[in-house]
């Protein structure tokens, strides 16, 4: 009796000591939890979710519960929920035209646009006044290349670019050739990087602009931007870089890298589609002849109403990217290595295109010898992948980028690009690697060429009969 009475008070004491604390905490948490639970239950029960049904347009829509994994981060990225959260008020209540000076709707939109301009400037180390909003990197590239070349046409008429640039830069250069400009399309080395000596030798007194992309969209190589910038500055040539695949993913500073013009895309850095930016240096000043006529928005360089919600999205995406850059990069590197190691450990004759060191790890381009890329893509229908850029994915032509790096025709045909992003998981990487190994082995088993290669016959020595 005496024994229990001694123990009991201690237990009671402990309960009294601990319980109030527990009581204090639980109701709070529970209440919030219940409220949210109720709220989401209410939306789930009372509000029917909107799901687009477009089966009339296409019959091969993905099944609702077996959607493919997304591994095509170079084509586009999903919107970060933080970005959508920032955008929504400008779709719902704050719909003013940012150029309206006569009322509050305009002022609040203008404030939002200017705040976003600061966010974009911050991530590239620029002054906000040097950032102009466009519809995307394609438009930015067009304004930069055509606009700069045309403005200085009376003085200089030579442009240098590379063979591995994005189509919109190459086509802008082609358009300029039609106008009488001379364009040098620099070859790249086997690893996809340009040779600075070759670049320097191509520069003439007439060269007005050098345009080299920061990170390649197909093979992920990172060009030596700082060195190119230095070289251009010393020769008083403007330097434009298409950094659509680089901004927010690798550190970029327009002053350290001596960049004069830079293109940015919203939807490659977890922002919305239909928005981009162009960095235009103020000191030393780069002048541009605007290709588009209109109301003179964006310092006259890009007329047209600035789309506030999209601009807010781009700004927010830049801010999030700046916070997350280190974290994302180390994680993407881990996932990228995991994918490459798994595949290369299990499969022979898998060639990585582009320099393995000087490249952005989120873009892995592999060639599977003796496997036709398109058949592999068909077999891997559970995974959203591409053999190259989305722009050219409709054609069966091998990628011009891979041909430029000197990949053999057959290897250029057998390439697949794996795009790893902020939201990719280990499980997705493992699934992709497994499926890839399984289908490449299966397709090789069926290939007579693979059989011959196994027997030691060099495929290149075969004389094919002419038909």
């Amino acid at each position: 009796m005496a024994h229990t009475s001694k123990v009991f008070p201690i237990v009671v004491q402990r309960c009294l000591l601990r319980f109030p604390r527990g009581l204090q905490r639980c109701p709070n948490v529970r209440q919030i939890h219940l409220d949210i639970e109720k709220a989401s239950a209410a939306t789930a029960a009372a509000v029917k979710p909107r799901i687009p049904h477009l089966e009339e347009e296409r019959k091969d829509m993905p099944d609702k519960n077996t959607r493919p994994l997304y591994l095509d981060a170079q084509a586009t990225t999903s919107l970060d929920p933080r970005v959508l959260d920032a955008m929504l008020p400008y779709f719902v209540t704050q719909y003013g035209n940012p150029h309206s000076r006569t009322h509050a709707y305009g002022w609040e939109s203008e404030a939002a646009v200017e705040h976003a301009r600061k966010q974009v400037a911050m991530v590239i180390g620029a002054d906000p006044r040097e950032v102009i909003f466009t519809s995307g990197a394609t438009e930015s590239n067009n304004i930069a290349v055509k606009g700069c070349a045309r403005f200085y046409k009376s003085k200089k008429n030579h442009i240098i670019t590379t063979q591995t640039e994005h189509k919109c830069v190459l086509d802008s250069c082609r358009a300029l050739e039609m106008e009488g400009f001379r364009v040098t399309y620099l070859p790249v080395q086997k690893n996809g990087l340009i040779d600075l000596k070759v670049l320097e030798n191509s520069m003439t007194e007439d060269t007005v602009l050098v345009s080299v992309m920061t990170v390649n969209n197909e093979i992920g190589v990172e060009q030596p931007v700082a060195e190119i910038g230095e070289l251009c500055r010393s020769r008083k040539i403007f330097f434009h870089t298409d950094a659509a695949q680089a901004v927010g993913k690798i550190p970029i500073n327009v002053n350290d890298m001596k960049i004069d013009l830079m293109s940015i895309s919203g939807h490659k850095l977890y922002g919305p589609k239909g928005i981009g930016a162009l960095y235009v240096r103020r000191r030393p000043r780069v002048r541009i002849e605007a290709p588009q006529s209109g109301g003179g928005q964006e310092r006259g360089m890009r007329s047209g109403t600035v789309p506030t919600p999209l601009v807010v999205g781009l700004g927010s995406a830049c801010e999030v990217a700046m916070q997350e850059m280190e974290y994302d990069h180390s994680r993407i590197k881990t996932l990228s290595d995991r994918l490459v190691n798994k595949i290369q450990a299990a499969l022979p004759m898998v060639i990585r295109n582009g320099d393995p060191e000087k490249s952005y790890p989120g873009c892995v381009n592999l060639s599977f010898a003796f496997v036709e890329g398109e058949s592999l893509l068909m077999a891997l229908k559970d995974i959203a992948l591409s053999s190259g850029s989305a722009c050219t994915s409709a054609s069966l032509e091998p990628s011009y980028v891979l041909r430029a790096v000197g990949a053999d025709e057959d290897l250029a045909h057998s390439s697949i690009r794996f795009g790893i992003g902020r939201f990719t998981t280990e499980a997705e990487i493992d699934y992709t690697a497994e499926k890839c190994i399984e289908h490449v082995s299966r397709l090789r088993e069926m290939s007579p060429l693979w059989e011959m290669a196994q027997e030691g016959i060099d495929i290149k020595t075969i004389q094919w009969s002419q038909h």
Binding site: N28, H33, S40, V47, P49, K64, N65, T424
Partner: protein, 89 residues
């Protein structure tokens, strides 16, 4: 200085709410990012830094809550990997 209890509560709420994302990728990210962020700053001593981290955590909790609701309304469908994982277990 913010109480230890408040931090734990915020951490739990972020995890609990993050798990409600309908989208597999957002759900996994929310949980992973919360864990890694709290782990990263586990030994933070500077009260100013702690206060600013707490503020951003609170803002993120609100974002997660709103975006979970958006996902309920517009985000339908599961990834193939989710059904595969289900089958495996």
């Amino acid at each position: 200085m913010a109480s230890h209890r408040k931090i734990i509560q915020l951490y739990r709420n972020l995890l609990r709410e993050g798990k409600k994302f309908k989208s597999y990728n957002y759900r996994e990210y929310a949980v992973r990012r919360t864990r890694d962020a709290f782990k990263e700053h586990k030994n933070e001593q500077d009260p100013k830094k702690i206060a600013s981290l707490l503020k951003s955590a609170e803002e993120n909790l609100d974002i997660v809550r709103r975006q979970v609701l958006i996902g309920e309304m517009y985000g339908d469908g599961r990834l193939i990997i989710e059904s595969t994982i289900k089958h495996a277990t």
